[in-house]
């Protein structure tokens, strides 16, 4: 088979950097860069090779002596570095502070450990140089905490007020810049990894990890030291507050827009977790998830509720339900006996673990969007402009991709080779019809091939190839030829000049998972196309 002129993700070869996704041409063991332009503009998370949820574009820690191994690098006011920690002490009627000039401004991930706190303060202030407030209520409870902050000036300062005899001990401080235009290679249930291209989405619930603003019904929320899906060590244990039956849950209220509710949950002494919302047709029912077997145990809605459970490693599952036609604002996650929304609590200590709750106005859960006191939006990924005219043979060639779509409703989602317009393009697109794919070729604004096919499941990976050549156009899926046209004019030389995850005019962006893309500069034979797509 011919050597591809552009490849992405072949043999799990991935490379990303700020603003760029590195596609390549391989020739005589040399790699030539055919990078895509990439942008998003907000932070975003993905599942890394080690199965942990990470934030894309995280840079190395810039804090010196963040483990307080020596009494250096920090400016101290009513504080001391002793015993391998920073001890924030009696404020003497003013304030207590530790501060370090980092030389950094911008978006950052901040991680720190509170190892001791005998004060009544449950929060501490995070400031920047000159006392400029960054966050006036960082968690100060014992445990490791991670927050995402924007530093307007170039220092990090932990500040509070403490009375005589009170101390807060701080350890393991790190600040890592977040580059917001970095592509994500995601390994959720995929050892090969895939480029993740998602639409804009907003997590509409706040305090997604601490649940601090979520009211309870007969339930206790206890912060415990347990490894979370992102590798941090603070999650919430949900247990009963009474030894009674009925509901034991955390709850919040948003709106009645059709939405997907999701949460990361891990079995403790209690095996089942439920979600409960009210739909127009059924009122309040419940969906029950089995955290031991990793299955949807019961869907007690007759319609309008579509659950799913996905394993994330280390005993954690992401439980999600898409609801249509909601009739009340409330949502709740609680302990279940395996049948519905009730649980007969034998004590007030048995429970299960929860982290990373999310609600978004889509028919599926997207990558986790952390929230604190505000709702938060992750922008759409934009990935285009790989290659130049010399990388394409306009007169003949093949575009191949192994892809899975995130959804098959709502809009068109396109991958194309084009000339910056949609008059000259080789493309396939998912259409807003269940499992439908359209392959089409436009030459000088004239359609020379257009074929639509329903696949078994466009949300699972499919291998798709489309071939163009004078009087020889065809497309293949998973080893089977779907359609061919043996008449029609091909492109003039030098017309096609870029590979895009859209339709060539910044529209209908591809939303899905991309495991592999290859561009060939000659029309492959049927046997080669069968081999490529099998």
């Amino acid at each position: 088979m011919a050597n591809p002129s552009i490849q992405l993700g072949t043999n799990s070869n991935w490379a990303v950097k700020e603003d760029k996704l590195l596609a390549y041409k391989e020739y005589n063991d040399y790699f030539f860069n055919k990078e895509f332009d990439f942008s998003r503009g907000t932070s975003a998370t993905y599942v890394a090779k080690d199965s942990l949820i990470k934030t894309a574009g995280i840079q190395p820690n810039i804090v010196k002596n963040g483990d307080f191994a020596t009494d250096s690098d920090w400016n101290l006011s009513n504080a001391a570095i002793e015993d391998g920690v920073a001890k924030i002490q009696d404020s003497q009627g003013g304030f207590s502070r530790i501060r370090q000039n980092t030389g950094f401004t911008g978006q950052a991930k901040v991680t720190y450990t509170i190892s001791f706190n005998n004060s009544s303060n449950t929060t501490i202030q995070l400031r920047s140089y000159g006392g400029l407030m960054v966050n006036n209520a960082l968690p100060a409870t014992v445990g490791t905490h991670t927050v995402y902050e924007d530093f307007a000036s170039d220092a990090i300062s932990f500040q509070t007020g403490l009375a005589a005899g009170e101390e807060i001990h701080l350890d393991n401080v790190s600040v890592q810049e977040i580059q917001t235009d970095t592509p994500r290679i995601d390994f959720t249930n995929d050892t090969k990894g895939h480029l993740l291209l998602e639409p804009q989405s907003t997590n509409k619930v706040t305090q997604s990890e601490t649940f601090s603003t979520w009211p309870t019904t007969n339930a206790l929320k206890t912060s415990v030291n347990l490894t979370a899906p992102d590798g941090s060590n603070s999650v919430i244990k949900l247990s009963s507050s009474t030894t009674s039956g009925g509901e034991h849950k955390v709850r919040t209220n948003t709106d009645t827009t059709s939405a997907t509710d999701s949460i990361f949950a891990k079995m403790g002494e209690v095996r089942y977790i439920y979600n409960r919302r009210s739909t127009t047709q059924t009122g309040y029912k419940s969906v029950v998830f089995d955290l031991q077997e990793g299955v949807v145990e019961r869907n007690n809605y007759s319609t309008n509720a579509y659950p799913k459970i996905t394993y994330y490693g280390n005993g954690w599952y992401r439980c999600e339900v898409y609801y249509e036609n909601l009739s009340a604002n409330g949502t709740g996650w609680g302990l279940s006996d395996g049948n519905g929304h009730t649980y007969n609590a034998p004590n007030t200590t048995d429970g299960l673990y929860i982290w990373g709750v999310q609600q978004e106005d889509l028919s599926y859960a997207t990558s986790y969007i952390p929230t604190q006191s505000s709702t938060s939006t992750r922008n759409a990924d934009v990935c285009n402009n790989s290659g130049s005219a010399q990388d394409f043979n306009s007169e003949e060639g093949v575009l191949y991709a192994e892809i899975a779509y995130l959804s098959d409703t709502g809009t068109y989602r396109t991958i194309s080779i084009n000339d910056g317009t949609n008059n000259n393009m080789v493309a396939f697109e998912n259409r807003p019809v269940s499992n439908q794919i359209k392959a089409f070729i436009n030459v000088s604004g004239v359609s020379v091939m257009s074929s639509t096919q329903s696949l078994t499941n466009v949300k699972q990976f499919n291998k798709i190839a489309i071939k163009w050549k004078q009087d020889d156009f065809a497309w293949w899926v998973n080893g089977v030829q779907i359609h061919e046209d043996l008449s029609g004019s091909t492109f003039a030389s030098g017309v096609l000049n870029k590979l895009n995850f859209n339709n060539g005019i910044e529209n209908f962006p591809f939303e899905g998972k991309v495991r592999n893309v290859q561009v060939f500069t000659e029309a492959l034979t049927d046997s080669e196309l069968q081999e490529l797509t099998s």
């Binding site: 942008s39 503009g41 907000t42 932070s43 975003a44 934030t55 978006q107 960054v134 995402y148 902050e149 924007d150 530093f151 307007a152 977040i178 917001t180 235009d181 804009q200 907003t202 009211p215 019904t217 509901e247 709850r251 209220n253 919302r277 009210s278 309040y284 009340a328 604002n329 409330g330 949502t331 709740g332 969007i369 952390p370 006191s373 505000s374 709702t375 938060s376 939006t377 992750r378 922008n379 759409a380 934009v382 809009t411 068109y412 807003p432 005019i505 910044e506 529209n507 209908f508």
Partner: protein
């Protein structure tokens, strides 16, 4: 500066929707308008000035009060709203109908963009 975070209050939903609809878009083959810009627009709607009080089933026990202003947050992609003069100097020019509706809030208000803080 690649992105600019702004908050807006419009007189009503119709006015806000008109401003959104005026941003660049194309029609798909079914006649539906699809954005062709890379700004991120988040339609927050009429925000609560007094939150309702809910019972444990999420049913409203005491009605809340909503603002009479319609809120929208936008993360503008600077390159798509930059205009250059004949000397090649670029300046940000917001689309018509937005600048007069811009507001400021303390902190992030009810909404932010992931990894970003408002006012910074």
């Amino acid at each position: 500066m690649k992105y600019i975070f702004k908050k807006y209050e419009f007189d009503n939903q119709s006015q806000g929707q008109s401003a959104i609809d005026a941003l660049p878009s194309v029609e798909d083959e079914d006649g539906n308008k699809q954005p062709s810009h890379h700004h991120s627009v988040v339609d927050l709607g009429y925000l609560w000035t007094t939150e309702p009080i809910y019972n444990e089933d999420g049913e409203v026990e005491t009605e809340g009060v909503k603002s009479n202003k319609y809120s929208i947050d936008v993360l503008w992609k600077a390159s798509q709203i930059t205009e250059f003069d004949e000397d090649g100097n670029g300046s940000i020019v917001y689309p018509d109908g937005w600048e007069s509706k811009e507001i400021t809030v303390e902190g992030n208000g009810v909404h932010t963009f992931a990894g970003l803080n408002f006012n910074e």
